[in-house]
């Protein structure tokens, strides 16, 4: 059999995760082993064709995989795979396969797939029956720091070079460096690089020793400087700088100085860029200047994405930047309107409190006053909060649609009143109260008098603790949305059979884990606000076991990874950064792994429902 005659099937297989991992020859052999069959719409695939038979691939069409009770397990489309879980089994099939469109299927015989797995660890991991193991292998995380060092000098160097000649006076060199905002200058003799001079040289070799600034720069420059090629790995350049104790490296390509690499430029251009941006934020003195920094947020986000920094770290960076904007605007407000007449605490709620912000996040915040304000004091806080919330809006943190902001007088009250709110929320659980409390269950101090926030959190936890009824309601509320197990092609089918055109990855996936973690954390008496920390605390207090923690964490990270990729692509294309993903925009890889993640979530939702007797309350 000439393998070149299977081009269609081979090229199809090369697009299917994980067969894209195979060598070309292996793929040809695989293609040559395929059995082909066809299901008409509404036709079932008999279980005896599945159990112990092989692995199925959907070539074209769509099928439903239903539980024996008829409920939907998952929905599969082009390039989706099923049958692996039945490979080692005998007897009845665990699920029913029914075509919902005319469907062409490929079947890879059991023997063939087993042999391939034998030879190929990547495939073995992929088909590991544990969803979380599959997810863990899905994202080959490159650590942020490592990613930075894997970059080339060219990516990071500063292209603006201050050039002077040997006989330029030291004073003139200092002027050029100041004008060009450079910390160094390259010294040339005609076109030949002769030396480097840095701001440190100006301090140590001129000022400290009282040298005449009219002297030529050649007197103080470092001669015959080390240089680096733009294609050199950054790590190598750093080593050179460390070894020779230099702060600037001229970058030379074909005898031309094309840039300079400095310690600062490495900071500016790496994911430490976020740190740099934060330091910039605190240096701005007007709202306008802050607004001018906003585009850099996008830059930071893109850089982190490109460096494949993991989703959680990205969220943290994005949140830290938001915190900085928020705090700086508060400082500017206090400069503008004078110091606060009574102690207050500004806190953030929702995703910001959880360190789970992304570029599209709006603001959620509130203010706690130490005691009841006088009228003019109340006026001060009204002015202050309006300035801050609007300022945040200008800086790319849109006003909260639910009006959960300190500028709303309801959320700008003394501690005693906040504590009254809490009592009401827990005692009278009407839908609005549930909504409110789920926002304020995620609470983080940001600015002002910290103990006010701690006190509010404390009363929240105390009220909620051992209140089974409240837990049941909270859980029931969080279970209203279930993950879209039928995610495929144009439709996202929820368990209740609802067809949607798009996946709302926040509402239908991210939030579900956030809510589960919140419930677990409350049950564990943890005041943590980050989802990952909540899972950790819940596991440490044995509310959930470590394996559950791991599974949920993997699912959460993968979902967020898909979400960030989507938002980054939208941002790069200049589009709206929403949470709505058209399923056909997902790669087969993402779709398959999202399904794994959704199955994990669905399982824990079910467990939570049983555990907190949520079903009983709903009726």
């Amino acid at each position: 059999m000439e393998s070149s005659l299977l081009p269609n099937i081979v090229s199809f297989l090369s697009e299917v995760d994980p067969f894209d991992l195979l060598h070309e020859e292996e793929r040809h052999a695989l293609a040559a082993s395929v059995d082909i069959l066809y299901l008409k719409q509404n036709e079932n695939l008999p279980g005896e064709h599945i159990v112990g038979q092989g692995l199925y691939l959907v070539r074209t069409g769509a099928i439903d995989q239903n539980h024996p009770d008829g409920s939907l397990r998952t929905r599969l489309g082009d390039k989706d795979i099923f049958g692996f879980s039945q490979l080692y089994r005998e007897g009845e099939c665990d699920y029913v396969i029914k075509a919902i469109e005319n469907t062409l299927l490929y079947r890879i015989p059991k023997q063939v797939i087993l042999e391939l797995m034998d030879q190929n660890p990547g495939l073995r991991n992929h088909f590991s029956s544990q969803e979380s193991v599959r997810l863990a292998h899905s994202s080959a995380h490159i650590d942020g720091e490592e990613a930075l060092y894997l970059r080339n000098v060219r990516d990071v160097m500063n292209r603006r070079v201050a050039r002077v000649s040997m006989d330029t006076s030291i004073r003139r060199v200092a002027e050029v460096m100041t004008e060009m905002h450079r910390s160094n200058a390259l010294v040339f003799d005609n076109k030949i690089l002769k030396g480097v001079v840095t701001d440190r040289d100006l301090t140590t070799r001129v000022l400290a020793v009282g040298m005449d600034p009219a002297s030529p720069v050649s007197d103080i420059m470092t001669s015959r400087p080390r240089t680096v090629h733009p294609d050199a790995p950054l790590m190598q350049a750093i080593e050179v700088m460390m070894q020779h104790n230099v702060r600037s490296l001229p970058v030379i390509e074909n005898g031309e100085a094309v840039g300079v690499l400095t310690a600062t430029s490495m900071v500016e251009n790496s994911h430490v860029q976020a740190v740099y941006l934060i330091s910039q934020i605190y240096r701005q003195n007007t709202l306008q200047d802050l607004v001018a920094l906003v585009p850099q947020r996008q830059g930071v986000f893109e850089a982190l994405q490109e460096a494949r920094v993991d989703g959680r770290a990205i969220q943290q960076m994005v949140t830290l930047i938001a915190d900085a904007f928020n705090k700086r605007i508060l400082q500017l407000a206090e400069d503008k309107f004078g110091p606060a007449p009574i102690p207050y605490a500004w806190f953030c709620a929702g995703s910001q409190a959880r360190f789970e912000m992304h570029l599209g996040s709006d603001q959620d915040n509130g203010l706690i006053l130490q005691w009841e304000p006088e009228e003019h004091e109340a006026e001060y806080f009204k002015t202050l909060t309006e300035f801050v919330c609007e300022g945040l809006d200008h800086c790319g943190y849109p006003l909260c649609k639910g009006n959960i902001m300190a500028s709303n007088e309801r959320w700008r009250v003394p501690l005693a009143l906040w504590q009254d709110y809490v009592r009401q929320w827990v005692a009278e659980n009407n839908p609005q109260n549930i909504l409110d409390i789920s926002v304020f269950l995620d609470l983080r101090f940001l600015y002002g008098t910290e103990h006010l926030v701690a006190a509010l959190k404390q009363s929240l936890l105390a009220r909620v603790e051992r209140n089974h009824r409240f837990f049941a309601i909270l859980v029931a509320n969080s279970l209203r949305v279930s993950p879209p197990l039928g995610l495929f092609r144009k439709f996202v089918t929820t368990r209740d059979g609802d067809n949607r055109q798009v996946l709302n990855i926040k509402k239908q996936a991210v939030n579900l884990v956030v809510e589960l973690a919140r419930v677990y954390a409350l049950a564990a008496g943890s005041s943590a606000t980050e989802t990952i920390h909540r899972l950790r605390d819940a596991a440490n207090k044995k509310v959930i076991n470590q394996a559950s923690r791991k599974e949920l964490q993997e699912a959460f990270q993968f979902i967020n990874m898909v979400r960030f990729k989507h938002q980054n692509e939208a941002a790069v294309a200049g589009g709206l950064q929403d949470n709505l993903i058209a399923p056909d925009k997902l790669t087969a890889f993402e779709r398959n792994h999202l399904k794994d993640a959704f199955r994990i979530i669905a399982r824990y939702q079910e467990a939570a429902q049983q555990r907190f007797h949520a079903a009983g309350i709903l009726i």
Partner: protein
């Protein structure tokens, strides 16, 4: 389906009668004889019980007396599965010169064919692969006529194989669809049915494509009923 009257006039019954008559003749070449030795299956045989072979020839032209077979693609189909592991593909040493035009279509060059199989050997391969099997082809006239010629079967004796024809099948199915001048080329039919596009004009790829189409057609014709040979044959001979 099993009524005597029905069976007697069924094309399969007629073919069985012809086969038995041909067996008595002495002018059937020895090489082709095994094809005549397997009884033609009954009309009420479930497709799932029959061994089928999807067959495709690439030829230099449409005239079996002048043109020759360039390549052959075959694979086994046992409803509802078609197995690529059973696939066979051969180039044939051409008796005549290759027309450059067909080389363009088939991507089969004289160089490819130098290493091909002599026609005599192809006879053996075909007879071995097809004896006792049902043949599935798209516009099977080509395969039937070229094989007739290749095997040297007397002009008044038919090739004793049951041919199922995906082109004719399709015509019986779209008749009422209101399609004006539908495209009955394999690729056209597949496109209408939402089957994936494939690389055409390669005997092996065409055979796979034909087999997939056949699976889809059978599912369409029978729905939830068990597919039987008889009805497919009837539709295959009706034009």
């Amino acid at each position: 389906m099993t009524g005597g009257l029905f069976d007697r006039f069924h094309p399969l019954a007629k073919q069985e009668k012809q086969r038995l008559q041909a067996l008595k003749r002495t002018d059937i070449p020895d090489i082709a004889r095994p094809l005549f030795e397997h009884p033609v299956p009954q009309a009420d045989t479930p497709l799932g019980k029959l061994e089928c072979v999807v067959l495709d020839f690439e030829t230099t032209g449409l005239d079996p007396t002048k043109d020759s077979i360039l390549s052959v693609g075959m694979l086994n189909l046992k409803y509802p599965f078609m197995s690529l592991s059973s696939a066979q593909h051969y180039y044939v040493k051409a008796g005549e010169k290759i027309v450059p035009d067909t080389a363009v279509i088939n991507h089969i060059t004289p160089e490819t064919l130098k290493g091909g199989m002599p026609p005599q050997q192809l006879c053996e391969v075909l007879v071995k692969a097809l004896a006792g099997k049902i043949v599935i082809a798209h516009w099977g006239w080509i395969e039937k006529e070229f094989m007739h010629r290749l095997l040297g079967i007397p002009a008044d004796v038919k090739v004793p194989l049951v041919f199922l024809d995906t082109l004719t099948l399709e015509k019986t199915m779209v008749f009422n669809d209101g399609v004006i001048e539908p495209d009955f080329r394999l690729a056209g039919i597949r496109e209408r049915r939402g089957l994936p596009p494939y690389l055409a004009h390669n005997a092996f790829a065409d055979a796979v494509a034909t087999g997939e189409l056949f699976l889809a057609q059978v599912t369409d014709i029978f729905g939830r009923r068990t597919p039987l040979l008889g009805p497919v044959v009837r539709r295959s001979v009706a034009v």
